[in-house]
Symmetry: C2
Subunit: 500 residues, 2 copies
């Protein structure tokens, strides 16, 4: 029986054998004091990314990160499929001529793509580039596939990595040359349908980012000078990082007919008339979302992971005392097998001090630690420790499963509330330029009345480094009389912020 | 209530809205008569791949294929994780200097990789290539990570696409320039441990390819002249396609210390001595496995999909008769909502003739068709039609779910038995060269006694196009006295076959 339990313990559920804590020193920088330093440390010490790969800006994504990237991807995919999107996979290489079809698009992207010029020993007739985003890969095919209104809406997505030759300083998961995202590309009959797609995308994002991962966000319409190259409108999801800078975690672009025209995506409507189709694309940044989870929920001990996301939800740590090893291990194995039926459980029976293991799994953000010592065996009980508060609870064996479920729910509620509180506290408002500059120093998103002119936004940027993130999607808030920056008549209420 | 059911019908389970049957003409080439033609047709007409992408050899993977690629990938990932492998993601770009570290490896691969020479407007200092396989991306990192015997075994995998500049004629899912696979890379303390890994890989492959997908295979050790470039030994999984040619669907390579030496992967053993580590890599070809599923199970009507793999397991087709539309649709929606709780169900209420829909879903290989007409509504029954045999069964509403489960089990048993019978019938044996050549014409794998010399294998290839696939893994079968090809003393019993 013991053997069976041992084998079960080995094969059930997730098994994370290598811990990949790169550094021996587990201590962390205080998060509030130096968020930037803390972030780099936690990414390294929790074994998320290794930046030592010999091509600059291309990190190695380690198991702990990949488990979560896969999980976030699959949460988003589920939302996309439930709203009628289907998966596809378009080539990673795109011919240069496809890029050159949309004027604004090429202007922006030709400077930031990787170019393939040779294959084997041959020079290629036409240069290829690695996708930085896939409009120019997908739309030539849409032009072949779409014939009549009955083919619409067409809603495809692909989960993939994209490649951008970033010349700014790269930052793990926030700005890299290879990162994970999903891109969905829809084709619609009317502009109204395209606009409805923005709301569907919002619901998908909200369900994952807010409801499952506890990341609060605001959806802004970017001003015209900050749109996606070629788009008619860009709608972006911003969260606030602990240092007060905002991070964009997803965007939807309303492309109107700006791509359907150069790519010749037409359909025959109900009246047998040929029309250009309306298009949208939606890109939740999986890497970016993970960076927000790390930053928003983390604390001075390291990661704090939402239970639904955590690669390991419960870590079991046997606390052996000489003469009792066998009992403790037996019980640990039994509990691991039992709990693994419905949770992601890891039994850590490596030959290290318990204190070392505690620190390590705290650093990696595992929601619940379950300790078993000889006393617990004797009393048929276990000790549960919450990652978010450090609170210890002793419960009877039989109650463990139920209690863990409740604790995990509670942990997530607490994380979500904490994150929301921080977010709300960092929504500010300013009446004039002096106030705006002060509030921007405090961090977060600052609401102002704004003239909606690019020059004025540029002045703000030059003076403070902050950007106009735009008006809130569908907001009807009336602006004050004057622009808070230049004093000319105000047109819209917008948020300003320093941004990643 | 009806509305709720309708909404449920829309959101539950998998929803496949676009059918992507590219051609209007659904009729298929007879599979036995011209397998090659049949294969290309089914790939196109069932909406698996579109080959019209403007870069040669780079197909677009369409939803029906991507659903299955994702499913096969996740089946294999589960097997890998249950045996202690963890996921990672290494960059798609590899510096040229890393390729040049292993002599045989570079010789083979430098001719078949895509080279990146520029980024944006800059020429790169060092050329990068797209991974054709990831040894040279991963092993420099292994060299950094591995310190002592306690770090071993290290078992990582990545699910990704790889890129090869194939100069031979490409064939969808069988030979392409971008294809899907998983590669796992392990590091072991001893050669014995490395050898055990081959058996673990075999179990993972068997569990998925044979037990879940019904594809019979044979595991052969490739002869030295057909090994993976740089490996000590290559163990390959071959299945037999309907035209009698074999297709390799996965391989494990025992790398010995041939990569750990140039890449400097060393560990300190229990006696504090530094040693080079032993390595293996395992590559189940997801695209190849899908091509085998298509080929081995398909029939003259198109795909026949294993129920566990099928993107849609049950398609519901309402058969409306004027005046009864409402009842039929209502019942179809109800059944769709009910069955979607535990099956992947599609309700096809497009405005087409039922016969057209039947053909289309048969072409796409959906295991069970559920028809509902006004009569069925009145009698509280439904008609189920099996994809594999075409047999119709009428069952009461309440029994539908249970009956479908049984039918699906039965379908898979039948598919598996059919495939196994074909495979076994195509294992032949030959005593001499004349017989070998005759048997090779009949197709499949032909067992012979063999001298195990490359020249002799080359003669066979020149004469017949067939290759020595090698001796069966761990087989102890004694060869006859003479090589069936050259007549010299035989050393091993091997299989010969024409191969994809």
């Amino acid at each position: 029986m013991l053997i069976i339990i041992k084998i079960l313990g080995l094969i059930v559920g997730f098994i994370v054998d290598k811990v990949f804590v790169v550094s021996e020193e587990l201590g962390m920088t205080v998060r509030k004091k130096d968020f930037g330093e803390w972030y780099l440390e936690v990414v390294k010490k929790a074994g998320l990314l290794d930046q030592r790969y010999p091509v600059k800006g291309f990190p190695v994504y380690m198991p702990w990160a990949v488990f979560m990237i896969k999980r976030i991807t699959s949460m988003l995919e589920q939302g996309l499929e439930q709203s009628g999107h289907e998966p596809a996979a378009f080539p990673v290489v795109i011919p240069e001529s496809s890029l050159r079809k949309e004027r604004e698009h090429v202007k922006s992207f030709e400077k930031e793509v990787f170019w393939i010029t040779h294959a084997g020993q041959n020079k290629l007739d036409e240069r290829l580039f690695l996708r930085p985003t896939s409009e120019t890969a997908i739309y030539p095919m849409y032009s072949l596939w779409i014939r009549t209104y009955q083919d619409l809406p067409l809603k495809l997505y692909q989960s993939c990595q994209v490649y951008r030759y970033e010349t700014k300083m790269t930052k793990p998961l926030i700005r890299g040359r290879e990162f994970f995202w999903i891109e969905s590309h829809t084709v619609q009959r009317t502009n109204e349908d395209a606009k409805k797609q923005i709301e569907e995308d919002m619901k998908i994002t909200e369900d994952v980012i807010e409801k499952k991962l506890g990341i609060p966000f605001i959806l802004c319409e970017r001003p015209p000078w900050d749109k996606f190259p070629g788009a008619e409108g860009t709608y972006a999801y911003d969260t606030i990082m602990p240092d007060g800078k905002t991070a964009q975690v997803a965007t939807t672009h309303n492309l109107g007919t700006r791509f359907s025209k150069p790519f010749d995506i037409k359909f025959v409507d109900e009246n047998e008339k040929k029309q250009y189709a309306y298009q949208t694309c939606f890109g939740p940044g999986v890497s970016r979302i993970l960076s927000a989870v790390i930053s928003v929920h983390g604390d001075d001990k390291g990661l704090v992971l939402p239970p639904e996301l955590a690669p390991v939800q419960v870590v079991i740590i046997p606390i052996s005392v000489k003469g009792h090893e066998k009992d403790v291990i037996k019980k640990s194995n039994e509990l691991c097998a039992e709990l693994s039926k419905c949770l992601r459980v890891k039994l850590d029976n490596r030959n290290y001090r318990p204190g070392f293991k505690f620190n390590e799994w705290e650093l990696k953000g595992v929601p619940v630690r379950l300790e078993i010592g000889p006393d617990d065996v004797a009393k048929k009980q276990v000790t549960l420790v919450r990652r978010d508060t450090g609170k210890r609870i002793v419960v009877s064996d039989g109650e463990a499963k139920k209690e863990i479920d409740e604790i995990m729910k509670d942990i997530f509620d607490n994380m979500k509330a904490r994150a929301k509180k921080f977010f709300d506290e960092n929504l500010r408002e300013a009446k004039n330029y002096k106030e705006l500059k002060e509030k921007l120093k405090q961090g977060g998103l600052v609401k102002i009345s704004f003239c909606y002119e690019e020059d004025c936004a540029q002045k703000l940027k030059d003076d403070t480094g902050a950007e106009i993130r735009g008006p809130v999607f569908k907001s009807n808030e009336k602006p004050g009389e004057k622009c808070a920056i230049c004093g000319k008549p105000a047109k819209k209420v917008v948020y300003a912020a320093r941004a990643y």
